[in-house]
């Protein structure tokens, strides 16, 4: 297997493939990532979401419908805990474009976000200025787009963007990193023709969105669950489900989507979905 590793949108990417990517393919991958970032990154002064945060109005986008339709499902399922207009809430806690890390008063996201933000396949529109943040599923979507851009290479392939992983073909065995001790795993998952995404409350900001998980209803960080992992046909769905699983309603949504999952609470307990293809290292497992 050939391995290509590079930095983009604040995370380390690895693409593992049977045959190496040539220069043209590598350039194509960078273009896919850059195009996405120039629309959706709230960390870029020249991005579409940054412009709309200042002035409202409409912007040309790629991929708005796929992501925002999924957001609507997640938002409904979690009773508003997940909301793409959470950008201001995250900034209020200091995770802003300047990385100030200066916390101000927590700010809930607008509850009626679907009446402020509208979208079609290639366009988004804000009735009033608001900061869009697609962090709940944006990186997963980008992993899918990168994998799709490399269909002509053929063979087994894995795209890994800092732990959000999509696999074409071959079985890949993945350690589920202990959220409080990166040298340890709480279990392993083996996936094939699927994606696995993780979300953890101590995960740092990345370029496009972030995984400091806030409850949009309060603007406060979540506390019950420390980390979640979800396995789905696409990385976007896995990423979205991993976020939803921090909140009430996430389990039902995962079930409706056919997503398998594991999550670990802040007091060190893990639970998983029925028929989840994951081996967990627990006191119960150790006794058996």
């Amino acid at each position: 297997m050939a391995l290509w590793r590079f930095d983009a949108i604040g995370t380390i990417w690895e693409i593992e493939s049977e045959r190496p990517l040539d220069e043209k393919m590598r350039a194509r991958v960078h273009t896919v990532i850059d195009d996405f970032d120039r629309i959706w990154s709230r960390f870029r002064a020249d991005s579409v979401v940054t412009r709309l945060a200042r002035s409202g109005g409409a912007g040309e986008t790629s991929d708005a419908a796929a992501m925002l339709n999924a957001y609507r499902d997640v938002s409904t399922a979690t009773h508003g805990a997940v909301n793409p207009l959470v950008g201001e809430s995250i900034s209020a806690l200091g995770y802003d474009a300047d990385y100030s890390f200066i916390a101000a008063t927590p700010r809930p996201a607008p509850v009626d976000w679907t009446s402020i933000l509208s979208w079609s396949a290639q366009r988004i529109e804000l009735a009033s200025p608001a900061l869009i943040d697609v962090g709940a599923l944006g990186k997963g979507r980008l992993v899918d787009l990168v994998l799709a851009a490399l269909t002509d290479l053929g063979g087994d392939m894995t795209v890994d963007a800092g732990g959000d992983i999509a696999v074409r073909g071959a079985d890949v065995r993945i350690g589920l990193e202990h959220p409080f001790d990166a040298s340890k795993a709480i279990g392993t998952a083996t996936i094939r023709d699927q994606a696995l995404c993780a979300s953890a409350i101590n995960r740092r900001v990345w370029g496009e969105g972030l995984h400091h998980v806030l409850d949009a209803r309060t603007g406060l960080p979540v506390r019950t669950w420390a980390a979640t992992w979800a396995i789905a046909p696409t990385a976007m769905l896995a990423d979205a489900a991993a976020t939803a699983l921090f909140f009430d309603g996430g389990v039902d949504l995962a079930h409706r989507w056919g997503v398998k999952w594991v999550r670990m609470s802040t007091d060190g307990r893990a639970e998983r979905s029925e028929n989840c293809p994951v081996e967990l290292f627990t006191t119960r497992a150790a006794r058996e």
């Binding site: 732990g163 990166a182 392993t188 740092r204 406060l220 420390a226 007091d267 290292f281 006191t283």
Partner: protein, 145 residues
């Protein structure tokens, strides 16, 4: 034995996560303060910071409760030799989490060293909480000479 060690590490770390949330929000409560508790604070001074044990308290509002936490750091020659955190996030957002579609009861996690596992990738956080780092920065500024 192994599991006991792992669990104690989990609990300690769980509290640290509470701190990350708490200190990110310390500006709301203004409750943080620190004072050396250790009498040798002046005696063994070297480097940029006074040696000693420092504590910062914080409080933050959650959807259900006000959480109280306390971070204690021991500095020796500018190096943090001990960290402890008390107070912890505890109330679940709901007690109904053991609902349908969940496989059995929650199980206590035992971490296994990734080096001992035959895995080709790792999915998780890998990165330090910036909230906790900022707490450490806060204490550093309080301890600065």
């Amino acid at each position: 034995m192994i599991s006991a060690t792992a669990l104690s590490s989990v609990r300690k770390s769980a509290a640290v996560v509470g701190v990350a949330g708490a200190l990110a929000l310390a500006g709301c409560s203004g409750a943080a303060d620190a004072e050396p508790e250790n009498s040798d604070a002046a005696a063994g001074a070297s480097g940029e910071y006074e040696n000693g044990t420092y504590t910062a308290d914080g409080a933050y509002q959650t959807p259900e409760t006000v959480e109280q936490i306390s971070v204690t750091l021991t500095l020796d020659a500018g190096i943090v030799t001990e960290v402890s955190v008390t107070g912890d996030p505890q109330a679940r957002e709901t007690e109904q989490y053991q609902g349908e579609f969940i496989d059995g009861i929650a199980e206590e996690v035992v971490g296994v060293a990734i080096d001992d596992l035959d895995v080709s990738r790792v999915a998780g956080s890998s990165l330090t909480s910036s909230g906790f780092n900022s707490a450490v920065e806060d204490i550093k500024s309080q301890a600065a000479k």
